[in-house]
């Protein structure tokens, strides 16, 4: 313990980043073997452990940089790191039986399994890099890489729909990422007038120090490109179109991490840029732009929920809705709204991934993702049924679950800072509520259709772990977590 206590952030960070990379390399070779899944879990577990360790250290001595100034960890991103690593870990646990069943059903072959496992780890690694890096350039590189990792996973089933989804995912996100690159270039352009050219000019720490001196005209353009670029990855309306397809057609564990993690990382990227842009522009324009995108996303997604027939697609739209809510919160700015946004990020990741776990098994049992063919889950397997029911109620903001708490914070701060927006948000929430409950209820309750027994017992520990955490946080947020959020919120400022 002494060794741990005395350690700087560097050691845990190294292990944190190294373990998924190593896992990826290893799995690229033996990912299809029986122990592949185990290795997958192991690597993610190591990462999760290190993330907690890192978090503890940061919580103790505050923000610090590592490897020169290449990496930078502060309360804001370390909290996301912990979240990412944790959900990555639980998802790997879930993916183990799930993918085995997929193999049994003949939807996955050995090479695909190898690809799947390797890419899963690489994806985790890339997101961790994106979160911890200090250079906005590297952030861009990592985001692009994370996209590329998941493209092939989305289309892994090779069905026409899967290919279409993958193709759209690739093209739309590719273009978006290029826009982000252009934004980064402009940022660099603005920076080197102040800091001078060279690697230092893209380092967040430096930029943050001089953000008030950055050239407004350039920064405004830069922010437009960055917002659109990373916003596409975050699934903001009207550049969200890849999201439902990708979520619906990929393997469920991937849907879980896409929805629970990738979107968060994209929002994180937007946040970093927003801080700089606000600093440079001085007016609230970036914030207002985010508010607009957020509102649009919430409203449109809420109504689109009524047209869903595919279960995973429906929850993908719900993800769009919640990302909109988060973006809205950060757009509002101010400590309370930011706090709400961060809290909602956490709650959404936990709850939504839990839902996808349950949905995955439900779809496997019914042998389809079409909602009108899934019926009476409670009869065939109560745990999956209750998991889905409770998860859905949690995600639509029913107390005493955490989503309600964060939504309460966001809505109340909206009432204070942007009164006219609150009714719109609440309307959207009501519409979404009606849609989701109306579809989930008959799937969970009622008479069961003929459902197949699964060759392996489903992994339900992750589901109820997540839901339990959500419930606990909805009732009681431990003080250290609060102070942590608060510091993160103050970092975002606005």
């Amino acid at each position: 313990m002494n060794m741990f206590a005395s350690a700087t952030a560097e050691l845990p960070l190294t292990v944190l980043l190294a373990s998924p990379f190593a896992g990826a390399l290893l799995l690229a070779l033996i990912g299809h073997s029986r122990i592949g899944a185990a290795i997958n879990v192991l690597a993610s577990a190591v990462a999760a452990g290190c993330s907690l360790w890192l978090a503890a250290i940061i919580a103790r001595d505050g923000a610090s940089t590592a490897y020169g100034e290449l990496f930078f960890v502060d309360p804001l991103n370390v909290f996301l790191v912990a979240l990412t690593a944790f959900v990555g870990f639980t998802t790997s646990i879930f993916s183990r039986p799930y993918m085995r069943i997929e193999v049994e059903h003949g939807r996955m072959t050995a090479p695909r399994m190898r690809l799947y496992h390797a890419m899963y780890q690489l994806f985790l690694a890339m997101m961790l890099v994106a979160l911890t890096t200090n250079s906005l350039g590297v952030l861009w590189v990592a985001m692009e890489a994370a996209t590329l990792c998941t493209v092939l996973l989305v289309s892994i089933y090779r069905t026409p729909a899967a290919l279409e989804a993958g193709w759209k995912y690739f093209i739309l996100c590719g273009v978006a990422v290029l826009q982000a690159l252009f934004g980064t270039v402009l940022l660099y352009l603005a920076a080197d007038r102040v800091i001078g050219s060279g690697a230092g000019a893209l380092l967040w720490t430096h930029l943050d120090a001089v953000k008030t001196e950055l050239e407004p005209t350039i920064m405004s353009l830069a922010f437009v490109f960055l917002l659109l670029g990373y916003g596409t990855k975050a699934g903001l309306v009207p550049v969200h179109h890849w999201l439902p397809d990708a979520h619906a057609e990929g393997p469920t564990p991937i849907s879980a991490v896409l929805s629970g993690l990738l979107l968060n990382v994209a929002v994180y990227a937007i946040l970093r840029c927003k801080v700089l842009a606000e600093g440079a522009l001085g007016n609230g324009l970036p914030g207002r732009a985010m508010v607009a995108f957020g509102l649009l996303s919430v409203l449109l997604a809420a109504f689109l929920l009524h047209r869903q027939r595919d279960i995973k697609r429906m929850f993908a739209y719900s993800s769009i809705e919640h990302m909109g809510l988060i973006t809205f919160a950060f757009g509002l700015g101010g400590p309370i709204a930011n706090f709400g946004g961060l809290l909602h990020m956490t709650m959404h990741s936990l709850t939504k991934s839990a839902i996808f776990f349950a949905v995955g098994h439900a779809a496997q049992k019914a042998g389809t993702q079409a909602m009108d063919q899934i019926r009476g889950l409670l009869q065939i397997s109560p745990t999956v049924g209750w998991g889905l029911m409770i998860g859905s109620l949690a995600i639509v903001g029913m107390p005493p679950f955490g989503v309600f708490a964060s939504e309460f914070v966001i809505l109340t701060s909206a009432m204070r800072q942007l009164p006219w927006a609150a009714p719109l948000l609440l309307l959207a929430l009501a519409v979404a509520f009606a849609a989701i409950v109306a579809r989930v209820q008959p799937m969970v309750f009622g008479e069961t259709a003929a459902m197949k027994r699964l060759p392996h017992p489903p992994a339900l520990v992750p589901v109820f772990t997540h839901l339990g955490l959500g419930l606990a946080l909805g009732l009681y947020i431990p003080p250290f977590l609060i102070s942590w959020y608060m510091r993160a919120a103050s970092l975002i400022g606005g």
């Binding site: 692009e144 290919l163 993958g166 759209k168 093209i171 273009v175 252009f182 980064t184 270039v185 353009l221």
Partner: protein, 219 residues
């Protein structure tokens, strides 16, 4: 000599823009590849030029990388792809050529207007080229929209990346080395994945017409 080289950059920039226009209207896939190669060449040259002018050795490396990737590797891969997939001609674009041209001109004007205030601020030797870079970015974007064939879209995508790199080089005298490398790596990876995709799509729909990829919808 210096002056000449400085003007040369603008020349390359102009070349890039012209190539972008040419690509918009070009319907023969093979020619698209040729144009793309030319674009890569111009980009490499410009990078070299800037590197010489600003005496930044790492730009030479990046120029070399660009040359290898954009002039040698990708075109070669594209050629093999086209031969394997038997796509000589693009199908009729969603928007006819003259209209596309017209739109393109509008975009150029728009981009220039947008870029002038920034260019005035840029310290680099080739500040005035930023507008051109932005213009060609938008043009390639337009091309992606109008083209119905997957291959064409891919090429447009790549050319968009070219113009972005040019913007990076010209406006800011090149990004930091690490970033450049990362970008290059991503481009390579991306292209490989694209190739895989094209084959998968081909074998699934035995055509590369993106009109087949319109099943997932909400209507």
């Amino acid at each position: 000599m210096i002056a000449l080289l400085t003007q040369a950059i603008n020349l390359f920039a102009a070349l890039l823009l012209i190539l972008a226009f040419a690509m918009i209207t070009q319907r023969r896939v093979l020619n698209l590849v040729h144009l793309f190669t030319a674009q890569g060449l111009a980009l490499a040259a410009a990078t070299l030029d800037v590197g010489y002018l600003t005496a930044q050795p790492h730009l030479y490396a990046s120029a070399a990388a660009t040359f290898l990737l954009k002039v040698v590797l990708l075109p070669a891969l594209l050629h093999r792809l086209i031969n394997r997939l038997q796509v000589r001609w693009d199908v009729e674009p969603l928007l006819n050529a003259p209209l596309t041209m017209l739109l393109g001109i509008v975009l150029v004007v728009f981009a220039f207007n947008l870029a002038t205030p920034i260019a005035a601020l840029a310290s680099s030797v080739a500040r005035s080229t930023l507008g051109i870079a932005l213009a060609s970015v938008l043009l390639s974007f337009l091309m992606m929209i109008t083209r119905a064939r997957a291959v064409a879209q891919v090429i447009a995508f790549l050319s968009m990346e070219n113009s972005l790199l040019f913007a990076a080089t010209a406006a800011t005298n090149g990004m930091p080395m690490l970033v450049e490398l990362g970008i290059a790596l991503d481009v390579l990876m991306g292209f490989v994945i694209l190739g895989v995709f094209l084959f998968q799509i081909r074998e699934q729909f035995d055509s590369l017409d993106t009109r087949h990829l319109e099943r997932l919808r909400e209507e």
